[in-house]
Symmetry: C2
Subunit: 547 residues, 2 copies
């Protein structure tokens, strides 16, 4: 038997969910990238807009990257396409809706012309460098999602990105079991599969079950119905539109991303909203309340979203009012629970009726639960298994499920981002570890805030700052005037009034006595005085000029 | 009919859960306080240690406060006793275990001697000023919890603090249905009841169901079992101890609060751990791993807790190691999900097996779910209903449940903290709104950080700071030397190297040209330059000395 080359599987993206936002494959000198999405910052990532995967590993190999395949049109899979293309100009392959959503995003950044976008369909076979990629349809909370069968000399692998086994999906197009069975017959060497819900027993309910709940909400609502969800949850938009039609209400979209996504999805035929149902938000605001449904973003309570602004009374176009029914059609992403709760409480306080997932079935997950995950493994019968799309806790749980259905423990590998896995010679083994971390995006520039900067921000935030400016007579070594003191985030004005004069006196005394003369020494004297008085440790900066 | 005086019900405590941490009653000039607990800060309350209710309303009425009754020994009901007593010295009434836990807390702050602590029992009737208070047992996740029946000229009210209707509680002492029925026969004018789980359908499982799960974990664990829970969850400690005995493991407590609480609960007979089972943590660390159970705090992933430190490898006494089984016996409190997930991932990364509530039944709630809440209302048959212990969303839901079981809508009042409710003349009405907010505790002093300080902290944290120090020649108006620049939390060192020299040049240019000469003008010029370059807005401080 000849020595075969190995396939490298490279999950990129820092501490985030493994392989979710970006995975690269390397074989015979060629590289294929699957997905390029963004992550949202956690609560203690202060001031970060969003996070992109660290793909530095690929930069010096850019000329060997043959293509970028996108599995579906959600932010966490398409949001970083622009950032990748800026450094690695490469053809992007995606199904029509996914490509449409990518185009919308690129256009917003003035990037469309430069991108080489290639439309593919589910059930297509394309050659990308040394990779034979076969697409197959999967159901998810957005239409036109695909899984990938990737064949190289190292074998056949199935890359199962976000999916659920919804037998009655809103678009009538279930996951392609026949193709999965066909791959299974061919013999699958490795299955990579979505672990998002691996801690959830049972079977994820069909997206269709929420239709009746929306029907009921719209029938019972005395006034406007305002539905919040993600702008890319096209299936959810379809359900709300269907319920609006049934209840003879008009539907308006509020907010740029919702308007743009709905427009492209309608144009491509993935979202069916009758012309006579659709109105502009301006029109909707002049219609009788009981005839109106408004869809917008903000189901995660984000302060800058429409729901966030409605909850604080700071939305530009319209306000929430008594009689409105607000539906938060999503489940809080871990870390967002407080923000969502605050938004709910504020909307209730304004007299709106608020409906959220713990009081009515107006949301279902887009990801497979344990029974679906096990069925997939049994259907595909892979020799090896690599759980992806989850934190370590979900991956370990998914690995445990795979063991339950008979994958031998030694054929399962659990890794985190940055750990290369190699398939070859009938074995799945660990390869190199590559450096990689989060890349924080804040403002214009990318990656110029690192963990140290983040740590400084946390220190600033925990205790505030004190700035002391001293002018010292060069010859006599005495202060020319009283020290100026600025504080932020440290004390309330009343306490400052009590504490600062005394602090100023002490600084004058130590400086004038010639006891301390470096900025550092003065700062540490101030620090210990303030700690004594308040048991807190603000950052202290001393600036000193000698004249 | 003579004009009767009204009873005022005063829920205190800022935007927190209504009446959870402190409720005051006022009747005929006398005041009774129920509970005095703390809240834990939310994610964006930067640098706050904990929060106490704002009881300023009571301060100028301190001489009319007749007593403080505590319903049970959890932090959110006893944590602020010291803060209240410091300003309102008043007798504290509580059952033996609750009083024991209060004593432990007061002792830690050197306060025991000054407190007038009075032991009461469930099923006791005491007169506190004009309030006749009858206690009755309720089951909760800590033994010796009580509800209160409070009789005044305005009628009989039932104050149902934290409770569940557990038919097989660990201490064998269920909620006292007979007393509730008796009050019902007397005629209850108002029921106040715990809304924590009003969004949860069904019936909360008995604390006892988790016993077998702990048994199984300990039987299967190849090495040490480390169980994390709240230090005041005495019932949970009992379950773990029982399982340790069954599995012939020794039990050690780690951490001051856990050690102290277990000690007082054992002493008072509320926690039964055989002497031969209990070992010190030092002893446990020298025993064979498979013979050991360690209980500690940190089930919420708090970085400074033992679990938090174990997860980052920074615990002093011992480390987590391959073969350990760590059980997080709690459910993440909203806002703590990220911290808990991080702790789980880190412990897994260190090779421990981690068991948490979504993979094994090692936690149940201590609060009644919807069916229990409805049963309570039907049992008590109150004329009026006031949901407490919840945010607005939970209160509204609890009110809806009360309507379902037949309480007329007009007899239900939903309020938030600071809104006085009045009972009298057969009616429940809204009274005055009193000012009140969170009182943040950070370091030594209380209440000297307010929302403005918090806002400044957030600004500091979002974008960092830039401090620029200028020395200017008094006569020529020119800079004496290059401006000194300090940044924190703004740029990485590499980017600072690029940006700062250019910024310095620009400042020198504008100052030397005499164009800008106030600190404010220079700061705003710097701000706009930095925004131009980075699209970020750090706080900029300019200090200037003229010599």
């Amino acid at each position: 038997m000849s020595k075969k080359e190995k396939l490298k599987i490279i999950p990129l993206g820092g501490l985030g969910e493994v392989g979710k936002n970006m995975t690269a494959y390397e074989y015979g000198g060629d590289i294929l990238i699957v997905d390029a999405g963004i992550m949202f910052p956690e609560n203690d990532m202060l001031g970060v807009d969003y996070i992109i995967p660290d793909f530095e590993y690929l930069l010096d190999k850019a000329n060997r990257v043959r293509g970028l395949v996108i599995t579906h049109g959600h932010e966490d899979h398409i949001g970083a396409v622009r950032h990748v293309l800026e450094q690695i100009p490469v053809p992007v392959f995606a199904t029509p809706l996914t490509l449409g959503l990518i185009e919308v995003k690129l256009a917003r950044n003035g990037y469309t012309d430069k991108a080489d976008l290639r439309r593919i369909q589910a059930n297509e076979k394309i050659q990308i460098g040394k990779f034979t990629v076969e697409t197959f349809h999967v159901s998810h909370s957005i239409p036109d999602a695909v899984g990938l069968a990737i064949t190289t000399g190292a074998g056949l692998i199935i890359h199962m990105s976000d999916f659920k086994l919804d037998h009655t999906p809103v678009d009538g197009w279930p996951t392609d079991y026949a193709r999965l069975a066909e791959f299974s017959q061919r013999g699958v060497d490795l299955l990579l599969s979505d672990s998002t819900n691996s801690e959830r027993p049972g079977w994820t309910p069909s997206e269709r079950i929420i239709g009746p709940a929306f029907d009921q909400v719209m029938a019972a609502a005395p006034g406007r119905v305002i539905v919040a969800t993600f702008a890319s949850l096209i299936s959810r938009i379809q359900q709300v539109s269907d319920a609006a039609v049934k209840n003879r209400r008009k539907l308006a979209f509020a907010g740029t991303s919702m308007v743009e996504n709905a427009k492209i999805a309608r144009k491509l035929g993935y979202l069916i909203v009758p012309d006579e149902t659709l109105v502009s938000i301006e029109q909707a605001l002049h219609m009788p309340d009981e005839k109106v449904v408004i869809m917008c973003t903000g189901s995660q309570g984000e302060p800058s979203s429409i729901i966030g602004r409605l909850s604080t009374g700071s939305n530009r176009q319209f306000d929430v009012k008594r009689g409105d029914t607000v539906v938060l059609s999503s489940h809080p992403i871990p870390g967002n629970e407080e923000a969502v709760s605050r938004a709910i409480n504020r909307l209730l306080r304004q007299g709106a009726n608020v409906i959220y997932d713990s009081i009515a079935p107006i949301h279902v997950s887009g990801h497979a639960s344990q029974e679906e995950q096990k069925l997939l493994i049994n259907l595909v019968k892979p020799k090896h298994f690599l759980p992806i799309h989850g934190e370590l806790r979900q991956l370990k749980r998914h690995a445990w499920l795979a063991e339950q259905v008979g994958i031998p423990t030694e054929n399962i590998v659990v890794v985190e981002n940055g750990q290369i896995v190699e398939l070859g010679g009938g074995k799945l083994t660990l390869g190199d570890r590559i450096p990689g971390d989060y890349v924080f995006v804040h403002g214009e520039s990318i990656g110029d805030i690192d963990h140290d900067v983040m740590k400084e921000r946390e220190q600033l935030a925990r205790n505030g700052i004190v700035v002391i400016d001293l002018s010292i007579d060069k010859i006599k070594g005495r202060l020319l005037h009283e020290p100026e003191v600025i504080t932020r985030g440290f004390l309330s004005p009343e306490d400052a009034e009590r504490l600062i004069p005394e602090m100023r006196k002490r600084v004058m005394k130590v400086v004038n006595s010639g006891g301390l003369d470096s900025e550092k020494d003065i700062a540490s004297a101030v620090k210990s005085y303030l700690y004594d008085q308040t048991k807190r440790k603000p950052m202290v900066f001393v600036t000193m000029s000698r004249a």
